[in-house]
C-alpha cells in the first residue's frame, strides 16, 4: 500500500517535471510577441481610436491560438521546422520566394526593434547614435558567442513589467462599461488609417516570423507527441497572456490619451503617458519595459530569421559553427543586425512610423504563411492522426480570407487615393461617406473618407460595421 502511494507521488513528480521541461517555447514566444511593435501598435490603437479597436482582440486571440497551436503541433509531430517542411513539400522555388518576403518583413521588424531601443532610451536623452550601435554590438556578441541562453531568463522575468499596464489601467479609472461593450461589438470603417491599424494589430499579434520561431523552438526542445499535451496548454496560456496585456495597453492609452482628444503616437513620450498614474516613475517604467521587450526581440528575431532561411535553403547554420563553416548564416545575420541598426541612425528617421509600418507588413505576409501551414498540417502522410479538425481549418481559412480582404481593401483605397481625384472619384467629389462611427458623448470623432464606388460595394457586401451615410 505504502509502495503504491510512493509510486503515485513519483508519478506526479514526473508529470510536473515534464511540464516544467516543456515550458519555454510557448511563453517565450508569447512574450516576444509584445515587442516594440506590439507596444506601439496597441498604444496607437488606444490613443487614436479609444476603446473602438478592442473588439479585434477576441478574434485575434482565437487566431493566435489556432496558428501557434498548429506550429507547435507540426513541430512536435514532424520534428522539423516550418521552413524545412515547406521546402520538402513545395520545393525550392516556393521556399525561396517565401524566404525573400520573410527576410524583407523581418528586416523591417529588426529595424523596429532597434527603433524601440532608440526611443526607449531617448526618453532619458540618451542619443540614438550612442544607444543603437552599442546595443547592436551587444546583441551580435550575445548571440554569436552563445551566452544568449543565460540571459534569456532575465528577459523573461523582466517581461513582468507589463503588469504596470494592468495596474495603470485600473488606476486610470477607465469607462469599463464602454470597454466591455466595444470588446464584443465589431466596428469596421473604410478608412485607410483604421484598416491599416487593424492589419497592424493582427500582424503584430500573429507575426509570421513567430510561427517559424515557435515551431523550431518546439523541435529544438525535443517535444514530441508524447508530451505535446503540456506544450499545448502552455501555448494557449501564452496566447491569452499576450492579448490580456494588449487589452490593458489599449485601455490605458484610451483613458489616458484618447479621452483627452484622439491623437497619433509620435514618440515614446506620447506612449508613456499611458502609465501616468505612476507619476514620476511613468517614464522609467515605460522605458524599461520597452527596452527589455525590444532588446529581447532584437536577440531572437534576426537569429530566428537566419535559421529559417538557412534551413529552408539548405545552408549550414548554427552559432556553434565557425564562420567558414557557415558563411551564409553569419553573413545574413550580421547584415540583418548591422543594417537594421544602421537605418535607425539615418538623420530624422521616423522611429514610430517605421515600427507601425513593419507591423502592417507582418499582417500582409501572414495569410500567405498561414496558407502553407494549413496545407501542410492537413497532409496525412506528414501529420498522421494529428491533422487539423474541420473547425480548425474553418478558422484558419476564414482568417486567411479576412486578412487578404483587408489587405486588398487597404491596397485599393491607397491606390485610389494616390490616383488623380478627377479620374476615379465619384461624380460628387465631396466626401461620399462621412463615417461617424463612434458616438461617445465626450468625443465623437469624425473621419472624412473618400470612398470609391468599388469600396462602397465591398462595404455593402460585407455588411458589418456601423455606417452613417
Amino acid at each position: 500500500m505504502k509502495n503504491d502511494e510512493g509510486k503515485i507521488i513519483k508519478r506526479f513528480r514526473y508529470q510536473i517535471a515534464i511540464f516544467l521541461s516543456v515550458i519555454g517555447p510557448g511563453l517565450i514566444t508569447a512574450n516576444v510577441d509584445n515587442d516594440s511593435g506590439g507596444i506601439f501598435t496597441y498604444s496607437q490603437a488606444g490613443a487614436k481610436y479609444g476603446y473602438l479597436p478592442l473588439w479585434t482582440l477576441i478574434p485575434i486571440t482565437l487566431l493566435l491560438i489556432v496558428t501557434q497551436e498548429m506550429s507547435s503541433r507540426m513541430g512536435a509531430v514532424t520534428g522539423k521546422g516550418l521552413s524545412d517542411l515547406i521546402r520538402e513539400e513545395f520545393g525550392l522555388r516556393t521556399t525561396f520566394f517565401l524566404m525573400i518576403a520573410l527576410v524583407l518583413t523581418n528586416f523591417l521588424n529588426v529595424i523596429s526593434e532597434f527603433a524601440g531601443i532608440a526611443s526607449s532610451l531617448e526618453l532619458f536623452h540618451i542619443s540614438r547614435y550612442i544607444s543603437v550601435p552599442i546595443c547592436a554590438v551587444a546583441v551580435w556578441f550575445l548571440v554569436v558567442r552563445g551566452n544568449y541562453r543565460s540571459v534569456e531568463k532575465i528577459f523573461l522575468v523582466a517581461c513582468c513589467l507589463y503588469v504596470t499596464y494592468i495596474v495603470s489601467a485600473f488606476l486610470l479609472k477607465p469607462d469599463w462599461k464602454e470597454a466591455a461593450i466595444y470588446s464584443v461589438k465589431p466596428i469596421l470603417m473604410f478608412d485607410t488609417d483604421y484598416i491599416t491599424m487593424l492589419i497592424a494589430m493582427v500582424g503584430t499579434s500573429i507575426a509570421p516570423w513567430m510561427q517559424f520561431y515557435l515551431q523550431s523552438a518546439i523541435v529544438e526542445k525535443g517535444i514530441t507527441t508524447k508530451d505535446y499535451v503540456q506544450s499545448r496548454i502552455e501555448v494557449i496560456v501564452g496566447c491569452i497572456l499576450t492579448d490580456v496585456v494588449a487589452f490593458f495597453i489599449i485601455v490605458s492609452c484610451a483613458t489616458a490619451i484618447w479621452a483627452h482628444g484622439p491623437k497619433d503616437i509620435n514618440d515614446a513620450a506620447d506612449a508613456a503617458v499611458a502609465l501616468k498614474p505612476f507619476g514620476q516613475y511613468a517614464y522609467l517604467l515605460f522605458s524599461a519595459g520597452l527596452f527589455n521587450a525590444s532588446f529581447f526581440a532584437a536577440c531572437i528575431l534576426p537569429l530566428s530569421t537566419v535559421f529559417t532561411v538557412c534551413e529552408g535553403l539548405g545552408f549550414e547554420s548554427g552559432v556553434d559553427k565557425r564562420f567558414h563553416e557557415a558563411p551564409e548564416f553569419y553573413w545574413l545575420y550580421t547584415l540583418l543586425v548591422g543594417f537594421g541598426a544602421a537605418v535607425i541612425l539615418w538623420p530624422n528617421f521616423p522611429l514610430i512610423k517605421m515600427i507601425l509600418a513593419s507591423q502592417v507588413l507582418n499582417g500582409v505576409l501572414l495569410p500567405f504563411v498561414l496558407i502553407y501551414m494549413v496545407i501542410l498540417i492537413n497532409k496525412k502522410g506528414l501529420m498522421k492522426e494529428w491533422t487539423n479538425s474541420a473547425a480548425y481549418n474553418a478558422v484558419a481559412w476564414v482568417s486567411v480570407a479576412i486578412m487578404i480582404g483587408l489587405t486588398l481593401a487597404l491596397a485599393s483605397i491607397t491606390v485610389r487615393q494616390m490616383m488623380p481625384q478627377a479620374k476615379l472619384a465619384p461624380t460628387n467629389s465631396a466626401p461620399v461617406a462621412q463615417v461617424q462611427s463612434y458616438d461617445s458623448q465626450r468625443h465623437a470623432f469624425k473621419t472624412d473618407v473618400h470612398v470609391s464606388r468599388i469600396a462602397h460595394l465591398i462595404r455593402q457586401a460585407i455588411g458589418i460595421g456601423k455606417f452613417t451615410d
Binding site: 514526473y14 520545393g91 525535443g222 508524447k226 539548405g314
Partner: protein, 413 residues
C-alpha cells in the same frame, strides 16, 4: 557536348525524341534502382499524352542539353515501383546524411556523369549538390537557357558531396530494405559524430536508424547524446531492441539513461535485459542522480593488497575492454576495504617484483556514495584528480568517478 556531366535540373524538362525524331514528351523524373545498381539512372519518366512513360537506361542513344534521343521505342507506361528511388520525389529537397562532412544536408540538385558506351549513353549519379551554386541553378532553370546558366554558375564555388558518401534517410523499414539502404556509412563514423547527426533528424528517422543499427554501435552512439534525447529514442523503440542497446552500454551510463525514462518503461526494459548487466544497473539505479553514487561507474580494476607490478600487468591483460580510459589501479584488502590508489603510469618505471603498495601516494582521497556533486568537483579541482574512488557505507569500494564525468557535469551548468 563537351562536358560529360548533366544536372538533374537540366534533365528535367528535356525533350525526348523517338527514332524518327518525333517528340514523345518531357522528362518528369528519373529513378535509380539501388538493388540493381547503386548510382546508374535506370529509368527516365517521361510525361506527355495521357500517362507517364518509362524509358529504360539501355533504350537511349544520346543525352545532350538539346534532348534525349532513343534507339528503341518499346516504352512501357509508368507504374509505381517500390524498388525505385525517384530522384525528384524522394531525393530532391530532402535531407540526406553526408558521411564525409559528418552532417545532415539538404539536396538542392544532383550531378550526373555521362558515360559513352558502344551504342548509347548512360548517366549515373556523381554528386549531390548543396550550397549556393545549386540554389542559383534551381532558381534560374526554366527562366534562363540551360547553357547560359552553366556559364554564369562558375562564378560561385561548387559545394557537392560524392554520391558514395551519401546515406539516404528513410523511416519506413520495408522501404529501407527495398531501396537497399544500410547504416554502413554511419557505422564507420565516430559515435559522437553519429550522435550529432541523429540529433538533427526527426523522431521517426531517428527511430528508424536506431532500429536498424547494430546494437553495439547504437549503444555507443546513444551514450554520446543528451539525456532527454536518449530517453525519447529508447521510448520510441521496441522494448526488446531498447534492452539490447542498454545491455551494450556501460552499467553506469545505462543507469543514467534508465533514470531519465518513465518508471514503467524503464522497468520493462530492465525486465528484458540479461541477468548479469541487469543486476549491476539496478544497483546503480538505487543511488541519487546528483550524488557520488549517481556519478560513478563500475569500470575499475581492483587488486589484492599484496599484488606486485608484474601481477598488476597480468591482471590488466584480463581487462582489455576498459584499458582505453583506465588510469588508476586500486588495492583492496580481504574485506574489500579500499587501501590504496596507484596511478597507472607508475607501473612503467617500477621493477616487476615491486609490491604495488610501495607505489601508492601518501594520501588516499575517496568519497562516500552519498557525497554531493559540488563537493566532488571541488575535490577534482583541488587534487587534480583523474579518477576518484567511491566507497559504500561498509567502506567497500563501490565504483569510481572519472574526470570525463566531471567535465560533462560542469558543461551542463
Amino acid at each position: 557536348m563537351a562536358d560529360d556531366f548533366l544536372f538533374l535540373t537540366e534533365l528535367l524538362g528535356l525533350k525526348v525524341y523517338d527514332l524518327k525524331g518525333r517528340r514523345l514528351g518531357l522528362v518528369k523524373d528519373a529513378a535509380i534502382v539501388p538493388l540493381i545498381h547503386p548510382s546508374r539512372v535506370d529509368r527516365f519518366l517521361v510525361g506527355g499524352g495521357w500517362a507517364w512513360l518509362t524509358v529504360r537506361y539501355d533504350q537511349i542513344r544520346s543525352i545532350t542539353l538539346d534532348g534525349i534521343y532513343l534507339k528503341d521505342e518499346q516504352l512501357t507506361p509508368y507504374h509505381s515501383d517500390e524498388y525505385m528511388l525517384r530522384l525528384v520525389r524522394d531525393l530532391l529537397d530532402q535531407q540526406i546524411i553526408d558521411g564525409q562532412g559528418r552532417k545532415v544536408v539538404r539536396v538542392t540538385d544532383i550531378t550526373f556523369k555521362i558515360q559513352h558506351e558502344a551504342d548509347g549513353e548512360v548517366i549515373s549519379i556523381l554528386d549531390v549538390d548543396i550550397g549556393l551554386r545549386s540554389v542559383l541553378r534551381r532558381l534560374a532553370q526554366g527562366a534562363i537557357p540551360r547553357r547560359l546558366i552553366r556559364r554564369v554558375q562558375v562564378l560561385i564555388p561548387p559545394h557537392s558531396i560524392r554520391w558514395e558518401h551519401c546515406s539516404i534517410i528513410e523511416a519506413d523499414p520495408q522501404r529501407r530494405l527495398r531501396l537497399n539502404i544500410s547504416n554502413k556509412i554511419l557505422e564507420r563514423m565516430h559515435p559522437a559524430d553519429v550522435a550529432d547527426i541523429v540529433e538533427d533528424l526527426s523522431p521517426d528517422d531517428r527511430e528508424a536508424i536506431f532500429e536498424t543499427m547494430d546494437s553495439e554501435v547504437a549503444a555507443e552512439t546513444l551514450s554520446e547524446m543528451e539525456p532527454d534525447v536518449q530517453a525519447s529514442i529508447l521510448e520510441s523503440l521496441e522494448t526488446e531492441k531498447a534492452a539490447d542497446i542498454v545491455e551494450e552500454m556501460s552499467p553506469h551510463e545505462a543507469a543514467d539513461v534508465l533514470a531519465e525514462l518513465e518508471e514503467q518503461t524503464s522497468e520493462d526494459i530492465l525486465e528484458e535485459m540479461e541477468v548479469e548487466p541487469k543486476a549491476e544497473v539496478e544497483e546503480l539505479l538505487e543511488y541519487k542522480e546528483n550524488s557520488a553514487g549517481g556519478l560513478m561507474n563500475t569500470e575499475y580494476v581492483a587488486l589484492p593488497e599484496d599484488a606486485t607490478v608484474a601481477g598488476a600487468i597480468e591482471a590488466l591483460k584480463q581487462h582489455e575492454e576498459i584499458l582505453e580510459s583506465l588510469n588508476t589501479l586500486f588495492l583492496v584488502d580481504a574485506n574489500e576495504q579500499l587501501k590504496a590508489a596507484i596511478p597507472l603510469a607508475r607501473l612503467f618505471t617500477a621493477a616487476g617484483a615491486t609490491p604495488l603498495r610501495d607505489l601508492a601516494p601518501e594520501t588516499l582521497i575517496q568519497v562516500d556514495v552519498d557525497e554531493r556533486e559540488d563537493r566532488i568537483t571541488e575535490l577534482f579541482d583541488k587534487y587534480n584528480l583523474l579518477t576518484l574512488p567511491v566507497i559504500d557505507t561498509a567502506g567497500k569500494l563501490a565504483g569510481v568517478i572519472t574526470v570525463d564525468e566531471i567535465i560533462s557535469l560542469l558543461r551542463e551548468k
